[in-house]
Amino acid sequence: MSELTLMKGNEALAEAAIRAGCKCFFGYPITPQTEISAYLSKRMPKVGGVFLQAESEVAAINMVYGCAGSGIRCMTSSSSPGISLKTEGISYIAGADLPCVIINVQRGGPGLGGIQPSQADYWQVTRALGHGDFHVLVFAPSTVQEMADTVTKAFDLADKYRMPAVILADGLLGQMMEPVAFDESAEIKLSDASGKPWAATGHGNKRKHNIINSLYLQAAELEEKIRARFERYEQVKANETMAECYKTEDAEIVVVAYGSTARLAKSAVELARKEGIKAGVFRPVTLWPYPEREINEACKNAKKVLTVEMSMGQMVDDVKLALNCRIPVEFFGRTGGVIPGPAEILNKIKEMTGGDK
């Protein structure tokens, strides 16, 4: 690895995308993800890639559909209201089994909401990022370095399972600056369609024509396609969950948080430990598939679980489901762009563990 560079989360992610071979980027301006577009508009022409500012979020995701359909690694990025606009295209991408990477640097909602950090799109991304029966891979980085590292993982798994991958960041991660390292020894090699025999690349008079499509008018045929896709999802669930445990080994209270909120939770846990409370943090890195085995392992000594989010409580449902309601699960959150402070998380921990200890 090379020396450290101070970068914004959005910029680190953009640079990492190029290093992951992302050849084409299609986007539309929206705060707080703008640096991704700005960075790629500078870098892409220098490395022989494509940066194109689309006329809308809808057009951008459909450009991704076309580009991914021709077998090329490509990406789009947006923030919450823009992601809502992209959901139609994401459904078609999932329905046509195309790999791509979609970035959501979340801001407050609903509606135009605000431009401050938020985690209120959890339900959308894990439950219904478009119409129909499908899932997308969801990664939740929590540092600038992880913003970079996750992109490569997202592209690799999207290709492996032929499905869209979403990086669910937030305005805090996108805008903060931290030192980040890239592997400078690795040569930048932008993607081609090799290894994707299904892609619409032009058949070159060498094979039957390829069709990229999500339309199946015969109900039984559509059901079969969907069932096959869900069998692939089972493989994803079995093999691709990721999570981090922080001081959970002896933890009697486990705080579950993802993304930037997990960092605040760690600070709160440090404060709690100083007061003699055995607390730890469980941080899911993949939100779909949800790390169910890992959370059960992390909570093996827990008497209580606290889920902390920048929302009114969305991931808390998955925590309860994963733990099968075996352990009481409570929630603390701030929303609308308000960032929860370690002190208020600590107060909640103390309230749950019997007041001032």
Partner: protein
């Protein structure tokens, strides 16, 4: 004498189009041009939502099925990643001139180096004949049962006229396929569109006035007559713009 046979770029499968619909002729013309230019292996087509939704089964080149109206954006994604391939879209009027207006206008103004085949039959055929953006004033459709009233539903969109104002457009031409002469003109226009693309000269759109006997409630012959008597006066045939953008 050359033998009259199916172009290679057109798959040997039954088409689902209604009797008297001109989609079949237009498909054939596109396929003939692809054959004559010898580009089937280097061509990627994008088909729409509407009557030609299943065109991916009819063209022998690689195909993508786009969501409603988004074909020009999908084609942009394909073309930007594969600038040396031929990319065309095949779209109807609801797809191109209503739900996909933004994608059409912006692909055109970017001078996106693609060829758009635009089939205008003044109605939403696939869903049973509702008012389209191109439905003529007074025309009766399922959703204009008293005839299109321009004071309520506004006026038809004239795409070639509109797009010819944009600097990115290399070719905007309106043709039809109602008799042998117009079929030959249409084929020449489609060929021109692909030639412009070959020379990387900008966006081309060929609007083909088409019939929909089923939803117009006419016989195929009556439908051709209506196209001649009512559509052509409102949508005059001809070249609206021609010349390399770059």
């Amino acid at each position: 004498m050359p033998e009259f046979k199916r172009p290679h770029a057109l798959c040997d499968v039954p088409l689902h189009y209604c009797p008297g619909c001109t989609h079949g002729i237009i498909h054939r013309l596109v396929a003939e041009v692809i054959d004559e230019m010898g580009i089937e292996g280097d061509t990627i087509g994008v088909c729409p939502v509407g009557c030609s939704v299943m065109a991916y089964d009819y063209f022998n080149c690689d195909m993508l099925e786009a969501s409603h109206g988004r074909s020009p954006a999908v084609a942009t994604g394909v073309k930007r990643a594969n600038p040396d391939k031929f990319v065309f879209t095949y779209q109807g009027d609801g797809d191109l001139a209503a739900i996909g207006t933004a994608e059409t206008v912006h692909a055109a103004t970017r001078g996106e180096n693609i060829t758009v085949i635009f089939v205008n039959n003044t109605t939403y055929g696939m869903t049973g004949g509702q008012m389209a953006p191109t439905t003529l004033p007074g025309q009766i459709t399922q959703t204009t049962p008293y005839g299109r009233n321009t004071s309520v539903e506004g006026f038809p969109v004239k795409m070639c006229e509109m797009l010819s104002q944009l600097d990115g457009v290399a070719l905007a031409e309106r043709v039809t396929v109602i008799d042998p002469k117009s079929v030959m003109t249409a084929k020449k226009a489609i060929r021109k569109g692909f030639e412009f693309q070959k020379n990387k000269q900008g966006f081309s759109i060929i609007e083909v006035l088409s019939t929909c006997p089923t939803n117009w409630g006419k016989t195929p012959v009556e439908a051709l007559q209506r196209l001649k008597d009512e559509m052509i006066p409102y949508y005059p045939l001809g070249v609206y713009k021609e010349g390399a953008v770059r």
